[in-house]
Subunit: 309 residues, 2 copies
């Protein structure tokens, strides 16, 4: 661990030691940060983050916040950052809800078709900003079904895409709506913002993530979704276009092996696992784990701590 100050033989060293941190700073122009477990945990900012981001900016680094949490729109993320004392621009935020809207836009999703969301405000707001009509989401959160003889559940035949993300208000109504669209509307897309099993919705424990809602719709439709968030290549291609910098000069900083680190590795980015989120050191070092970041360390602040030495 960085905290014990030991850097083993360079060839096998995966700990972010002062030397490797300086190498990283020299070779990277864009730092891509996951948010939950990296910048904050629930509503708690992780120690040292504001200073680290400030130093990186002062060194001319570009920052991007790449989160699979689809419950917020980019605007809501700006507010969340601000509430924690961090000033971030909307253009620096790449959420999976935004990715879903961009996926539809880049694939020329017809304007006369609608989107059905199993998810929260983030998806609805990003769809509206991209000019798409979006049904479901929070609007269907309280809906119940009364099962009566001859009752037929009606759905909109103009829904051409179902977008599924984390939904704390998941219910049978939404599952049936999404299922009918995917099974009965010809060509209807099934898009998952991401498939994270769990996430730190609060700072004390983990909660079911979008993987749970996606699993529910896979189970009823026997279909597999198009994933637009991490670790899918869609979001990385989008970032590459945005920054116009080779991925070898980007570093993905995250707390999850199967989303963040895989996302970076697949694209040829440098990768840094921080242990401030869901992944523990034993999980990283488990022989069953086959996702190996370039470096690991405790928290984001370790990236700049080397500068003080």
């Amino acid at each position: 661990m960085a905290s014990n100050g030991v850097c083993e033989a360079a060839a096998s060293c995966r700990i972010l030691c002062p030397k490797s941190a300086r190498d990283l700073l020299d070779s990277v122009d864009v730092f891509l940060f996951d948010c939950d477990g990296v910048i904050w945990k629930g509503d708690q900012l992780i120690d040292g983050v504001p200073a680290a981001l400030q130093v990186l900016r002062s060194m001319g680094k570009n920052l991007a916040f790449v989160t699979n949490n689809s419950t917020k729109s980019r605007k809501q993320y700006v507010d969340k950052f601000l509430g924690l004392g961090l000033s971030i621009s909307e253009e620096e935020i790449f959420s999976s809800s935004f990715a879903a809207a961009m996926f539809l836009k880049m694939n020329n999703f017809p304007r006369d078709k609608k989107v059905y969301a199993v998810g929260e405000d983030g998806i609805l707001e990003e769809m509206a900003l991209a000019g798409f009509t979006c049904l479901g989401g929070t609007k269907d959160g309280g809906k119940q079904i009364e099962f009566k003889t001859n009752f037929k559940f009606e759905h909109d035949e103009n829904v051409g895409a179902v977008v599924v993300g984390l939904d704390k208000y998941i219910n049978y109504y939404k599952i049936q709506y999404a299922t009918l669209c995917i099974r009965e509307n010809p060509g209807c897309l099934f898009i998952a913002t991401n498939c994270d099993a769990v996430g730190n919705l609060t700072d004390l424990q983990e909660w079911p993530g979008a993987g749970s809602m996606v699993g529910a719709i896979c189970g009823s439709t026997q279909s597999e979704p198009i994933v637009v968030g991490k670790p899918s290549p869609f979001l990385m291609n989008f970032l590459r276009e945005r920054f116009r910098i080779p991925t070898s000069r980007m570093c993905m900083v995250g707390d999850r092996l199967d989303t963040d680190i895989l996302f970076g590795l697949n694209a040829g980015c440098k990768t840094l696992l921080v242990l401030s989120g869901v992944t523990t050191l034993p999980a990283l070092q488990d022989p069953a784990n086959n996702i190996h970041p370039d470096y690991y360390t405790n928290t984001v602040s370790d990236i700049i701590n080397s500068l003080a030495i």
Copy 2:
């Protein structure tokens, strides 16, 4: 189809023609019937069922009703049959909720451990009848979570099994409860009553089945369940013990290829697909389908229609 009266060359004939129906009646002592799509559709009895069951009984055949629908207990099924004018005994009913309780009993599930149910009354009642303490289910149907700083969702550490079945009142509370038990209680079992994608909850359309709720819990726990309903061998072993008749003298009659017919085929039963439920003739004859029943026909009544010829 039986209705067009054509029986093709015997070797390739899979339609239940009068001759094959008579052969079936001669060679089978126990008829295992699925319910939804076979006996009824939603709240509508399928034509000719009462007469067919009566004739089978008069011929000395044993009948068993083997359903993956876990929302009802055996007692509730007796009431449903009665409401449709059919007198069936509780001992003739083998529901997946009952199978879940029997699985725990036969595996000596400790009496001081509890069961958490993502499901409806059927699971709760069968667990209580088997002497197990069962939490969740309908009791947690209306529960919501208020996300506050320092909020910790508490779960019972004595839950030793999570049983997941069809749950029309699925919510985030239950998903989190089940997820915490499976992820954090050492040795906690994850049992699925079944994994049916959809079912005829009403007579006009299909609705998400237990596969959806099981998918949600798989998605958040990244675990695979033990399945006790069709097509798993557990329920068949139980039926074999109960009737003490070789499976070659049993016939599974169902409307689903991937549960009913597979269940029968795996055990060496004779199998009869009825087209009165979810499977269409094109789906049966699709080259991609690799589950082939011994026979298929329109409805259960075709089994005894041959006797009148």
